[in-house]
Amino acid sequence: MSKTNSLWTARMGGMALLAAVLALAPLGFANAYYYDVAVGALFNAIICVGLNLLIGYGGQISLGHGAFFALGAYGSAIATSRWGVPSVAAMAASAVLVGLMAFVMARPILRLKGHYLAMATLGIGMIIYIVLKTEAQWTGGPDGMGVDPLSVAGLTLATDRQWYWLSAVLLLLAVWLSLNLVQSPVGRALRAGHGAEIGAQVVGVDTSHYKVLMFVVSAVFASVVGSLFAHKNGFITPDIAGFHRSIELVTMVVLGGMASIFGAVIGAFILTVLPQMLTAFDDYEAMIFGAIMMGTMIFLPKGLLPSLILLIRKRMGGRS
């Protein structure tokens, strides 16, 4: 039973620590720009928490989640500005539609493995990018389109500070839901399919069902954040569906530590904030950034958080 308790404390302890960090961080924010960067980090963190369910726990790669993000953004943008749908309803409708699209795509795609799966998801991203770029009567084409601010029950989110608190609460919600899933029969079935697929099947786990499910869940996470991003930014272009965006998201998950929910959060924070801090180095920014990435993967191959936890356990005399 001690393990049940320690699991519980790891769960609630992690959540409490994250909540405390999110609550106290604004004390160090000198101006609105800090809030702006922090909101960007929170957005990425929410997507990565979802994506980590698919990549870290399910063992499936996706290089197309930038496209689901963009679909959420455009769904909200089109529904609110062209049809006057309330923003929360538009966000929900976009999420449902993106979830359905992901579901339809997932069956054939997730049959593939390794490089082939990466290629197929890459293809999805590219197709969606091209559609967003060419269907100008809906999306405004390469020039992009304007989006109204988010309003919830008559309240309009105007300042970066308001956005910060909304995103912080949503990140905590995303972390809570993911922790629930991972520690449930659904999460175990998912992890089992990753650990030993045939071993899972012979005890009745329909492994492809769980892969599809997590593909859909992670796509919905990305879509909701896309909707939020569109409202916050007030303007979107097809570039948000670009290949770079998808790669960036995967990199955040891998850097933070696969199959670690808090790791995904840390990866997202670092990869969002670090480039901002490195701007002081001007021309060397990209080089230093690349060196940090390489160093991390060489010396902490399991990703930041899992490697650090292992290190601390070793230091404490291997009691576990």
Partner: protein, 253 residues
């Protein structure tokens, strides 16, 4: 009626007949062993019965249902479970979690209750965990319950697979070389576990090279060679069979 009936079963791999026109039955509540020299087709037969391979010809009937061509997860629903010669352990989980996956079909695994961690789901999961801890005790791994599977010794992993298979509450349990790679002491421990399992009414089909184990615990033995049936009967009958002796010793009797 027999629990498992195999009739005219064949499997070809590009012209190689791994299993050829094989027929036999397994009676409920017995321990049934399949023996044969390396390459005799034992593991292929296992993979056919458990749905990993699709037969080229023939029927496999489990408890009245024709199961040829069904997927492993469908077979699990019909009451079949197995272990693997080369382990299929979830190394990304703890020992007890491995066993809990075995109980997959018997827990509330709906998406929304899991996502929202509803109290009913939590209660069910806790009960499942307690039962899986008992199963770990049953196979003698109680002290490893919270250990990561990746940190367990080989002999323990073999028993962990048995515990996981039992968590699925099978009618028919297939064990693929449970003693392979184990020393004599560990093998006798596995003997005891298999006997206990059979004592609880689970029908066991066993592929094994360890003759001491096979002769000691089997009710019935099927000997294969080159994918065909060589002999069948009680341990005493098979032990005395001239063809079996020839196949094992390489002599031409």
């Amino acid at each position: 009626m027999s629990l498992l009936a195999v009739d005219g079963l064949s499997k070809e791999f590009g012209g190689v007949h791994a299993v050829q026109d094989l027929s036999f039955t397994v009676e409920a509540g017995t321990i049934h062993s399949i023996i044969g020299p390396n390459g005799a087709g034992k593991t292929t037969l296992f993979n056919l019965i458990t749905g990993i391979y699709t037969p080229s010809a023939g029927r496999i009937v489990l408890d009245g249902t024709d199961i040829a061509g069904k997927s492993p997860s469908q077979l699990a629903r019909l009451g079949m479970s197995r272990t693997f010669q080369n382990l299929q352990i979830f190394f990304n989980m703890s020992a007890v979690e491995n066993v809990m996956v075995g109980a997959h079909l018997h827990v509330d695994r709906r998406f929304w209750p899991s996502l929202l961690r509803l109290p009913s789901m939590v209660r069910g999961d806790r009960a499942c965990r307690d039962e899986c801890l008992r199963l770990l005790d049953f196979v003698g791994l109680g002290h490893y319950a919270e250990a990561e599977a990746a940190a367990m010794p080989y002999g323990g992993l073999k028993r962990l697979e048995i515990a996981r298979a039992l968590a699925a509450k099978p009618k028919l349990l297939l064990l693929d070389e449970p003693a392979a790679g184990l020393n004599a002491t560990e093998s006798r421990e596995i003997d005891a576990v298999i006997k206990k399992v059979a004592g609880q009414g689970v029908t066991v089909v066993l592929v094994e090279h360890d003759m001491k184990m096979v002769m000691g615990i089997s009710d019935h033995i099927l000997a294969l060679d080159y994918g065909r049936k060589l002999a069948e009967g009680t341990p005493a009958q098979v032990r005395a069979n001239a063809d079996v002796i020839a196949a094992y010793l390489g002599a031409h009797a």
